[in-house]
Symmetry: D2
Subunit: 241 residues, 4 copies
């Protein structure tokens, strides 16, 4: 791993963990010192994180850790859902291969197995997240569009916009089982729509699927579970009036 | 033609021509006398026109000629566009035959020929309307859905909701050529979308295509050309404030 | 109730119950005798049921009880979902009143109560159907479009296309609870979308909501439960190859 | 302007102009020499252009000038149209201010003026492009979504995906006037849809609007006018069979 990549990964983690609070100004020197890295890779990492949206450029020079409002996060989720919707539509219109569809159905069975296990034992969220990420990744591959894949990749760089962004927070909530059941139904319906070449339907389902995250966000905000969300420390709670 | 069908056609024409003004109460006896028909086929015709929406049942019994507000006509056009949109989507998703697509392209060429003729000579609107109705009819056939075909048939029973409902009024307007050019572009795009199996796109285009009629309606209202529209006598002009 | 209405209701019931099998030819005289009615109201009833789609006109005259293929039923459900989707979009775009939204939320709570009761006791499907029909009816009213309301009314005249068409068949199935949970989530999401004036979302949800019936239809077909569906006797089972 | 920005702009221009052909491998040293810049800003520029999609990373290290297939360009246009569609929907749903709408209508009048001028004199494409870019920019502002604005910005970084990407090529074509007339109709319709808060319609129009570029691309490819398109040198012509 190059020095640049190492610096980028470390800096991103520091920001998402909340160690650098929203609004904090970052200088090349300060970050270089904190990470024990030299200035050139730090400069590149700062530029990249500004590109991703985690940092904001300051007019006077330098960067500031971004604070995200609830509305910005909803918008980021909507953008991700819109792009994943486009991917599902492409997959349906272009005609997914039988192998690709079989692979998606295998993942569905895996998620079914996670959900129907002994309720007393609870849901294995780590396994769920792994299967869920795999499902979303495979769907993107079926779209056969490197241009779109790049855009979805940029859209999920903000961790709270990613398909599994709020699942761990959800884990602590009593509504978790209902939400995961609904999510799995949407997975199942989008696979059906793709196999029937119903692109409009596939697109609409993926958009609505992303919006489950809105609800999880609202629950996490209400119940003070933001620390369970990656990047949750950057989310601005509204001040009491 | 049976007596019932004859009575229905005559009564519908009388109403659409404006000879029976909106709000007029119709009794079986009165209509039978007017049409020179017996009461049984008249009763069936009244029931059928109420079903189509041209007559309104009166609580005390009997029927009244319906007056349509601008909003009701816009809604009728939107319903027709929505159903034609569904037909275009079905055609795209189910895969139209090469023959069907070739037939649609022939009609497109015919309309092109109508539009590019000597501008000084003007547009032959009768020929345009014939080709346009044929285009819409063929699109519906490509959907391969008798259930939907029946619904579209019911939706265009109101003449101002039909695909050619306002073309004759448009004929008298200077904007006519631009509107027909745009309409033809939409025809061309929907054929392309169907042949590429892009159902969401095909659906959206047909919806927008129907909305050209909104604009024609507004122009016809503004310029006092409603007498050129079949059924225009039933449209309620808003009173000056 | 007039003789005509009485004859219509009785004949519709006889057909939906399966007492007159698909393909059966109906003559005015035969039906009049069977119902103990005179010929004029019977003629009107036959015409009306042909309009609704339960009867097919025979080229040589008279009518035949319609047989419905699985594809025709899917299309009828899609048409209904498309029109209900339009209603939800109108409600969102035109701005539903706070009272209307509060009323919808009351129904949601009622359905929640039906679903969370003691699982051992089972679900009260009759209560569910009453609340569900009320929800769909109210949504239609919020669209404020008499033209559209008429079209939805025509679309649900085929009983297997109606929002509750397959619920009773579902009642006998183990998947029932999951399907009703997903349906209720869709109810909840459409109310949210309307209150946020998100018309595209509201429309897409209602379309997908209707498609739950596809699944119920497939389950009912597979498990031989068609007799639990109103009009199920008219559905053509595919012959074994 | 910092050294980094200067290096980025220069390198981007060199690539889009076609001076570095698709497939060309770029080393930091080689580029630094060519631009007369030092290695640090060159490294940042290379990373950024890879991010934008103009360069591809080579597994063995370094970058290669990307060649774009027709399909990739169509996908890039579709992504841009999808994101602009989302912006138009947000503007409609969130309620654009009267001032914002008035501003959009002013631009429409400006474009009308460009289009109706003396046909013999031809269309002033430079003025058209300026007004068109302004229209698209303002629409984005009405969406009130910095998150989305960033994504659209990334999507139009590929010049052939931008709203005016093919207008100059179009300028040389006889079809230009029809295409611009249709484009202007779409501009007008999206403004109407936003002002009526019809989000689904606004979204669909902007998607279709973007697809006009597909047609221009096909025309430019067919007529060998790619040199008139910024970045046209990167587009892979299909080889004759």
């Amino acid at each position: 791993m190059s020095q640049s990549v190492a610096a980028l990964l470390k800096l991103r983690e520091v920001i998402l963990s909340g160690s650098l609070p929203p609004g904090e100004r970052l200088s090349e020197n300060g970050v270089a010192e904190r990470l024990g890295a030299s200035r050139t890779p730090v400069r590149a990492a700062l530029a990249r994180l500004a590109e991703e949206g985690l940092l904001e450029p300051i007019p006077s020079g330098g960067f500031m850790v971004k604070a995200f409002t609830e509305r910005e996060i909803r918008d980021a989720i909507e953008v991700r859902g819109t792009l994943e919707g486009l991917a599902a539509r492409f997959a349906a219109e272009r005609g997914a291969s039988p192998e690709g569809l079989a692979h998606l159905r295998d993942i569905l069975e895996g998620i079914d197995a996670v959900l129907v296990r002994d309720p007393a034992a609870g849901i294995d969220f780590t396994e769920y997240v792994t299967l869920n990420e795999h499902f979303h990744q495979l769907l993107l591959e079926l779209a056969e569009s490197p241009v779109l894949a790049r855009k979805v990749g940029q859209a999920v760089a903000l961790p709270f916009a990613s398909p599994s962004g709020f699942v761990m927070a959800q884990g602590a909530l009593p509504e978790a089982r209902v939400i995961l059941t609904v999510a799995q139904e949407q997975h199942r319906s989008v696979v059906e729509a793709i196999s029937l070449r119903e692109g409009a339907r596939a697109e609409a389902i993926m958009r609505e699927h992303a919006r489950l995250a809105h609800r999880n966000l609202a629950l996490a905000l209400r119940q003070g579970k933001l620390h369970l969300v990656q990047g949750g420390a950057l989310i601005q709670r509204r001040l009491p009036a």
